[in-house]
Symmetry: C2
Subunit: 289 residues, 2 copies
């Protein structure tokens, strides 16, 4: 399976232009043999909206206009596409990622972890469990941007059988250390492939830092994007490598297994409610010190 990650700039508030440019990149990646093409977070809409009212105009249902547009493209060109958009469901709005193929929507994801930043300030918290779907012969899990700072986001997917996690992201300035280290760590600690696809460019004073990264199940970087340029990253995915959690072997015994060697009897507090306030909402003053 060949994976492509499209590091690109996005025009805020111009979905038609963004979809058109995404389609061009998708065709280019298909010509290079990519089976699955991943785009950044909010690739259809842009990120730095200033109010909920402003973003409502660009939110769509899933399935809807954007998923139909890309599904038609997949029907013509083959392959599958995962991309970031704003999802509207009744009066709720989500930072979402959709995965579509020739037959329409395969899966979608609503960002679970929200920072109080950009459009996320005005959105609803993802309300559905992390889930694994199958596309192009790979068991795929979706995360978005800030999720990558929480090891739980990809761990839960790996435990559910994910072989690849795709992360449409909009990492801004300040996320350099996360971009450099966390993606390799998520891949290695779960023995899965991990593809983080960031945007570049500026939007209303916000600069996005590129540095998209695709890692193999040992955490090795298969492709790394520049800090500023639009480009397409490619990587070959060998699902057998991601299925084999055992890293080293001696005859008849194993030795390292990233999942089997877990000790969940000591992890109870990870799943307990913490009672701390959500970002940007009702925060007591002492948390701002």
């Amino acid at each position: 399976m060949k994976l492509a990650g499209v590091q690109m700039d996005v025009a805020i508030g111009d979905p038609e232009r963004n979809r058109r440019r995404m389609a061009e990149r998708f065709v280019e990646a298909r010509e290079q043999g990519a089976d699955l093409v991943v785009f950044p977070e909010c690739a259809v809409t842009g990120y730095c909206f200033e109010s909920r009212d402003e973003v409502v105009a660009f939110a769509e249902p899933i399935p809807g206009t954007s998923t139909a547009f890309f599904s038609k493209l997949c029907a013509e060109r083959g392959g599958a596409i995962a991309f970031g958009m704003i999802e509207a469901e009744k009066n709720r709005l989500f930072n979402a990622a959709a995965l579509v193929g020739a037959n329409g929507l395969i899966a979608s994801y609503r960002k679970v972890h929200l920072p109080f930043l950009g459009v996320d300030r005005f959105l609803d918290f993802g309300d559905r469990p992390f889930a694994v779907c199958e596309t192009a012969g790979v068991r795929l899990g979706l995360n978005i941007c800030y999720d990558s700072g929480f090891p739980e986001s990809s761990r839960v997917l790996a435990l559910a059988g994910a072989e690849l996690v795709a992360l449409p992201t909009n990492w801004p300035s300040g996320a350099e250390i996360l971009a450099e280290h966390a993606i390799a760590t998520r891949a290695l600690e779960n023995a899965i492939y991990y593809a983080a696809v960031n945007r570049v460019g500026e939007e209303r004073g916000f600069r996005f830092i590129g540095r998209s990264r695709i890692c193999d199940p040992a955490g090795r970087a298969l492709a790394v994007g520049s800090a500023t340029d639009e480009e397409i990253l490619y990587a070959d995915i060998d699902v057998e490598l991601a299925r084999r959690k055992t890293i080293v072997r001696v005859p008849g015994k194993h030795l390292i297994d990233r999942l089997a060697d877990r000790r969940p009897e000591f992890y109870a507090t990870l799943a307990e409610p913490h009672g701390l306030p959500r970002p940007g909402r009702d925060l007591p003053a002492e948390r701002f010190k």
Copy 2:
């Protein structure tokens, strides 16, 4: 608070020599003002034992000979010390870390995650929950080596209030990617200090890769050891930085909080028993493919 990590070689099966050399390094670090001095995993004993019988001769109770030796040193010189050793309790043996000060034992830890490698092949699995203690004004949690590959090990400690995780380790060849990326990630994702102190040198054909690393709560490297040399790493620890989980602020709102922004309602599977066999024990053949 000033932290020191002593990257050093270890002589297998010669605890007296190892303690003497550790004492020299401890005195040197104290002269540089270190309040807490961390040594590698199995610093008292060495790691590459070939049988349980061979290692029994070097296992000690906690408290015991080694903790008394270093406690006396702390009484003379001030400061505290964390170091790796093999613990004997009745007929059980643990890969352990002890933390001692002038008044004796402060805390100890039994390695929870065991690879089927070196002395760990013959040891018992850590049987006590991860716990936080206080020393030199810092809330400290202990992990050992392989624990660092499991995000749960430090996450549980951060949720329990740890501001610093110390990791005595014996990373061998092959752990380079983990050493480079996972320590920064553990620090950043929990907004804590993280000090990984590895050994160098060879032992029975096994090479240890140095690369000790101390990171701040943003994941920045404060000190990084070489791949081969004995050396002492130093870092100043500002516990206020580790207490403030909020990374960015706007007036009256927060936006990023590494613990408060968790969504444990979606993490239930992390604490569920997985039913997979432990490393080196009763592994079905299909896991060796």
